[in-house]
């Protein structure tokens, strides 16, 4: 199950942060997201993988903690998408397809002419769409 998703702008400014646990651990999850920004910076600035995966938008598993796994995705426009999950056995392909859908939702949200670039995304339809994507991720895992 995905417990938290985040969109972070190119100056590391939070654009969207949502946790799905319903409990009061939101602060802890936000902290995890915050920590992952450093990992993303490190990955992008000191690439040590092979050339084929060098500039892929999907960054893979950023770091595992005791209970969570954190995945990252960096778009061409330097917007970071971060996802925290409690599933310990996650398929890469599932995460990829999750990020692809999440990115599409983000693009649609910022294409709204009333959205101010660089400001937080407040659109309700975006939240709803992200909620659906997050739910479908958990669902496909259990099948």
């Amino acid at each position: 199950m995905i417990v938290c998703v985040a969109v972070v702008g190119h100056q590391n400014n939070p654009l969207y942060l949502e946790s799905f646990t319903g409990g009061d651990d939101a602060l802890k999850l936000h902290h995890i997201v915050h920590c992952s920004l450093d990992v993303i910076d490190e990955r992008v600035n000191n690439p040590k993988r092979s050339a084929s995966t060098l500039n892929e938008t999907f960054l893979g598993l950023l770091y595992p903690t005791e209970n969570y796994k954190v995945y990252g995705y960096l778009t061409n426009t330097k917007v970071k998408l971060i996802m925290v999950t409690t599933d310990l056995d996650v398929k890469d392909a599932d995460v990829r397809s999750f990020f692809r859908k999440f990115h599409a939702a983000y693009v649609d949200a910022v294409s709204n002419p009333f959205h101010v670039p660089g400001k937080k995304i407040t659109s309700n339809s975006f939240s709803e769409r992200v909620g659906t994507i997050v739910k479908s991720f958990g669902h496909s895992m259990s099948l």
């Binding site: 190119h10 938008t57 778009t75 061409n76 426009t77 330097k78 693009v107």
Partner: protein, 181 residues
């Protein structure tokens, strides 16, 4: 890509927008009108670049991003590629389009055109026809600037149209020249 819009509608909207800004809202201040039109283009380019770079790997350097603008972005927006890309390797790129789509259906008053040609080597080249066309180019300039800025390349874009409908877009990224090398 899902929904599409007829090209003639886009042409009509752009021409009408430019004329509204330059003759109605800011008729006495053409520079303000130009800035406003450019700002609209900037937002459009900003959003389009987000969408069109969705399924591709990140760009390694500026040249790759400029090439993306010349090929894929141009094809999406103007249905053709850039004809010629020049650079001085110091951060200035010149994108030349010999048949710029958005200007192909602009008709100029023949008398005005004759005037412009007569005065082309003279000093009074800034007559109404040429001015009108140059106003139309602020919008695509803004689109290119918005797209490049969103891809992490702050720049200045201007348009040069000495022989229509050919069109040049010099993109000056000079602020970043240190990074380019």
């Amino acid at each position: 890509m899902g929904r599409e819009v007829a090209e003639s509608c886009i042409d009509g909207v752009i021409i009408e927008m430019v004329s509204a800004y330059s003759t109605r809202f800011y008729s006495s201040k053409p520079d303000v009108a130009a800035r406003r039109i450019e700002a609209i283009g900037y937002q459009v380019g900003h959003q389009l670049s987000e969408r069109y770079t969705m399924e591709r790997p990140r760009f390694a350097d500026h040249l790759e991003a400029i090439k993306f603008i010349c090929k894929d972005f141009w094809t999406e927006v103007f249905k053709k590629q850039i004809d010629n890309l020049k650079t001085n390797h110091r951060g200035t790129f010149v994108l030349q389009d010999n048949h710029f789509r958005w200007l192909t259906r602009i008709s100029l008053d023949p008398a005005v055109v004759a005037n412009t040609e007569a005065a082309s080597e003279g000093e009074s080249g800034a007559d109404s026809g040429a001015q009108m066309t140059s106003m139309l180019l602020y919008f695509p300039c803004g689109i290119i600037r918005g797209a490049l800025t969103n891809l992490g390349i702050p720049c200045a874009v201007s348009a040069d149209m000495s022989n229509l409908p050919a069109c040049k877009f010099p993109c000056d990224t000079r602020q970043l020249v240190v990074l380019v090398f």
